[in-house]
Amino acid sequence: MRVEGEGGGAGVPAGGSGETVVFRVRRYDPESGVGPYYQEYEVPYRPGMTVLDGLLHILREVDQTLSLRYSCRQKICGSCAMLINGRERLACETQVAEVGRTVTMEPLPHLPVIKDLVVDVEPFLDKMKASMPYLIPRSDSENIRVPPEEFERYRVASDCIWCAACYSACPAAYSNPYYLGPAALGQLFRFEVDSREDPSVKPLRLVIADDDCAGVWRCHQAHACSEVCPKHINPGELIAELKREVLRARISGRI
């Protein structure tokens, strides 16, 4: 058996064919005193190679000054969201063959750049935290039963990996600094419909969702979030559902 060192694919032969692709990376180092620029790297290509594989090749073999975030390499940790050929994607799941011979990588738009492909995710996390992204347990929660139809309502929303791709792509979040954005509103919905939560908290969630500046009404239904979500969550649809919840609560006088 053939064993390569650590790489994208330990069992898959690297290079070999001599084929290469061009990785065009937007570089920025705050210590350099120089503005952002694009740097091109020639990277050996092999079938099945992901964008992350290529970036790690650069880091390990070509240029150790490159900065990026990565961890699980299986689209579950959400570290490596970036702009790849103009679209928010996870580098770990994006096949080079899918995006072309020249791959351009840029940091996620709409978040301050720390260095190269690493952005400051704190503004995104602040929005997440403002949506109370946690269940407040009921006091009488022994012997829990969750009806399958209720489980279905929060199942998909709870798949969120907090990668910020949707937040980065959302035009409403871009133009309105107060808007919570798709991921945070998705979390608001996820807990709103979970009956394991203390019922007295529910109106508070709806009041947050109903906020004129931060809440659901600032969603213009561009559905860019749903386009880019690597977990196929469709936050746009969750926000639409949350709007219905808010309206029902208003009509019934709950809020």
């Binding site: 060192g5 650590e6 150790q64 975030r69 940790c77 959400g78 935290k129 709870s158």
Partner: protein
């Protein structure tokens, strides 16, 4: 300098469960984490978490869970710890349900449970096939609710001691590149496993075992490091995990003749034999020419039907499609064994205490031991919540009576770390500097080829010698070709590599010394389990010349060792 009562190093599942417990008991607690907590490798756990809830079969019991765990461990687990672990399991899982884990449900709304390898009952609670993600996010959410302090994107580089006592850590802030000191009355290590010491692993890039190395360097012994779990089914090419749930739900393993070859190795349990047995069986099929392309076998889940695959194994379906181009609804998935789990780790008692005062550990970086020579699927998430809670409890109660550390030892520790970083960066300017990534890759190859699924004296002796030479080259010649302060990934990786090499050496040395086969440790030159001489735990103590090994008897309570058949 930051000061806290309890400092948890690592923001994965065990770390957060420890932090939550410390917070609930009133301690001033903070979590220091290399990555933002929701990026931790715990999110990659797929199949589930075991607890004898009896939802699928009311005759299940915690005693059966304990027995299955001990038998799975090939009798190397400490039985007193396993009993408490299996008993605690029930309350820990129900508590997760109260906190909001999106568990899959039975028709009547209870937590669903599925069959898993080595378990006599369907005992594995799950959230489809991304249980780790579900549990991890819930714990992070609850940490936010409780207002726990987080220091994100900080890498711990040294445990600071005052005399014999651990009093805090020196860490590097990745964003600024600055060294920072964190003083605490109690430090809990929860830094995860060491998968990346192997060339083929399911683990995330940051599962380096660096945290184990820090504790080891600070004087805590590493226990049972030679026991490395090789998961039978990792995706050919990337070694991404294909959950045991795929077999639990009915998937079968086939060789190139279309045979369900597990009939030869575990006629009763077949594909649901424990992982060590299935992994060796697959490897043997491949070595004997019954694999595909000399590399892998087939995992066929097509028999489950489209609906069940999409409901129970949606992530597996997508991973196979994305990373191997295989639509698992209609074609078999190419799989091969790969490193999956580090059974050994920082030696702790069943309350998370190490023998070094002020130092605690929980989760995959620790060894209690409940997994012994082989961990059962569904038992690692459980370990994180059971022993995370216990470590948090011990740390906060001990911290209440401890005094605040002085700042003197931190200044000295910072100078030492600065010198280490300085050497790496300075050498990076020299033409002949060794690339730390190349040293790491060499170590990974040595570990996979010589300290892998099948081991023998010759290979292991060679591995120890090669690792010692890699170690020497690292400390005398490694250089980082990147001197910046801001988010210097190559520098962090180079620092971690120094720790990884010593962890690898502990694994190889323990394996060379242990002249028997038990659980995941398989010696072709000593193919039998030898209870007379080897029913004992290995303890490796750090010295710069390599580990010094000691042994400790296994705790047996009510299950005397028997032959392990499936």
């Amino acid at each position: 300098m930051e000061r806290h009562g309890v400092l948890v190093v690592g923001g994965g599942l065990a770390g957060l469960r420890a932090a939550v417990e410390a917070k609930l008991s009133g301690a001033d607690v903070a979590v220091l984490s290399l990555v933002y907590p929701m990026r931790s490798h715990s999110v990659a756990a797929q199949g589930g978490i075991n607890a004898a809830l009896g939802n699928a079969d009311p005759t299940d019991s915690w005693e059966r869970h304990a027995f299955d765990t001990i038998k799975g461990a090939d009798y190397l687990a400490d039985q007193d710890a396993v009993e408490e672990y299996a008993r605690d399991a029930i309350e820990r899982v129900l508590e997760l349900d109260r906190w909001g884990v999106p568990f899959s449900r039975t028709e009547d709304g209870r937590i669903a449970q599925r069959p898993f390898g080595g378990a006599a009952f369907p005992r594995t609670c799950y959230a489809a096939d991304h249980t780790g993600h579900a549990v991890m996010h819930t714990l992070y959410q609850q940490s936010l609710r409780l207002g726990i302090t987080f220091y994100d994107e900080r890498v711990a580089l040294k445990l600071v001691k005052e005399g014999e006592r651990v009093v805090g850590v020196v860490a590097m802030n990745l964003r600024t590149g600055e060294l920072e000191s964190y003083a605490a009355r109690a430090v809990v290590m929860a830094t995860g496993g060491a998968g990346r010491i192997y060339a083929r692993t399911t683990n995330s890039h940051h599962s380096t075992g660096f945290g184990m190395a820090l504790a080891y360097w600070a004087g805590a012994p590493l226990e049972d490091m030679e026991f490395i779990q090789f998961h039978p089914t990792t995706l050919y090419g990337t070694n991404i995990l294909i959950s045991e749930a795929a077999r639990g739900e009915g998937g079968v393993l086939l060789n190139n003749r279309g045979e369900r070859f597990m009939a030869r190795y575990a006629p009763e349990k077949m594909e649901l034999a424990p992982r060590d047995i299935v992994a060796r069986s697959i490897y043997r099929e491949v070595l004997e020419g019954r694999g595909f392309e000399g590399e892998y076998v087939h995992l066929d889940i097509t028999g489950l039907g489209e609906d069940r695959i999409m409901e129970r194994l949606p992530q597996i379906w997508e991973l196979a499609l994305k990373f191997a181009g295989v639509d698992a609804r209609y074609e078999p998935i190419p799989v091969q064994p790969g490193h999956h789990y580090t059974m050994g780790g920082i030696d702790t008692d069943k309350h998370g205490r190490t023998e070094v005062p002020g130092l605690y550990a929980a989760g995959e970086c620790a060894c209690v031991s409940v997994h012994g020579a082989n961990r059962l699927g569904g038992n690692s998430l459980l370990e994180c919540v059971v022993f995370g809670k216990r470590a948090g409890e011990s740390a906060s109660s001990d911290a209440a009576s401890a005094s605040d550390p002085p700042s003197g030892p931190f200044e000295e520790a910072e100078r030492e770390v600065e010198a280490w970083i300085g050497r790496l960066v300075e050498r990076g300017g020299e033409e002949r500097a060794e690339n730390p990534y190349h040293l790491r890759a060499e170590m990974q190859r040595v570990m996979w080829e010589k300290v892998g699924i099948f081991r023998d004296e010759e290979g292991l002796s060679a591995a120890v010698a090669e690792l010692k030479s890699i170690r020497k080259r690292y400390w005398e010649g490694a250089g980082v070709r990147s001197g910046g302060k801001t988010f210097n990934v190559a520098l962090y990786d180079a620092l971690a590599t120094g720790g990884m090499i010593d962890v690898a050496l502990a694994v190889a040395s323990g394996a060379l010394a242990r002249r028997e086969s038990r659980g995941a440790h398989y010696r072709t030159d000593y193919p039998r389990r030898d209870d007379e001489n080897w029913l004992k735990h290995t303890l490796a103590r750090f010295t710069p010349d390599g580990p010094v090994l000691e042994y400790r008897p296994v705790v047996i309570t009510r299950w005397p060792p028997r032959e392990r058949k499936y």
